[in-house]
Subunit: 124 residues, 2 copies
C-alpha cells in the first residue's frame, strides 16, 4: 500500500494511536495489554491492525530486533483537527462556535477549565 498521509484512522486504529501517543513508542504486546483494559480481543488482532497501520504510514517501526518497536507517525494534534473539522462540518453547520458551546454546555467542565478557556480566548 502507498503511504498516504492525512488518512482518517479508523476506530480501532485510533485506540492504538492513543496508546502510542501516550508512550511515544511501544511493542505490539504493550499496546495489546493496554487495549485489554478497555475491551476483549486477541493478540493477533492487535498485531494485524498495527501491521496495516504500518503499511498505511500511520506508524513507523524499528524492526532490527525480533520484537518490533512502533511509534506514531501522525501527530495527535493533526489527528484531532482532522476529526474536529469533519465534525464541525457534518454536525455543526461549519460553525466551530456552535461546537464549542455545545461541548461546554453538556460536559461538566470545572471552574479551572473554564478560566483556562477564558484566558485562551483573551489571548487571541
Amino acid at each position: 500500500m502507498t503511504l498516504i498521509k492525512n488518512t482518517k484512522p479508523t476506530e480501532g486504529e485510533l485506540e492504538i494511536l492513543q496508546v502510542l501517543w501516550d508512550r511515544q513508542s511501544a511493542t505490539v504486546r504493550d499496546v495489546h495489554e493496554e487495549l485489554l483494559k478497555l475491551k476483549d480481543s486477541g493478540y493477533t488482532t492487535t498485531l494485524k491492525l498495527m501491521q496495516i497501520m504500518f503499511e498505511k504510514g500511520l506508524v513507523t517501526r524499528d524492526s532490527t530486533n525480533k520484537t518490533h518497536i512502533y511509534q506514531p507517525n501522525v501527530s495527535k494534534e493533526k489527528t484531532q483537527n482532522l476529526f474536529l473539522n469533519k465534525m464541525i462540518n457534518t454536525l455543526f453547520s461549519g460553525s466551530s462556535a456552535q461546537l464549542v458551546m455545545q461541548a461546554l454546555g453538556n460536559h461538566k467542565t470545572s471552574k479551572e477549565e473554564l478560566d483556562e478557556i477564558r484566558n485562551y480566548l483573551n489571548s487571541i
Copy 2:
C-alpha cells in the same frame, strides 16, 4: 430489527439526518437531491439507507401515501453530544476544555463568534 435508540449513526446516515434536521421532513427524493450536491450516488442507494434507518428507529415515516415522508427520530442535539462525548474521550483525554481550545485555535473563528462564546462563558 429492533428499535434501539442511542445508536451511533454511520457516515451515510449522518448525511441524511442533516437534511432531515434542516427540513423537518422530506421524501427520499428530496434527500437524494440534496445529497447529489455533495456527492454522486444512485437514488436507490439513498432509498436503501433510509429504509435501514427506519428499521433502526433513526427516522420515522408516514406511509399512508405512495411517496413516504420521512422525519428524523433522533434530535440533532443528542446526536451532537453522542459524537462530542465520544471524541472527548477518545481524542482529548476526557477533557472538554482541551477540545474547545483546539477547536478555537485551528478553525478560523470570527470576532462575532468569539464574542458569542465569551458571553456564553460568562453566563455559566
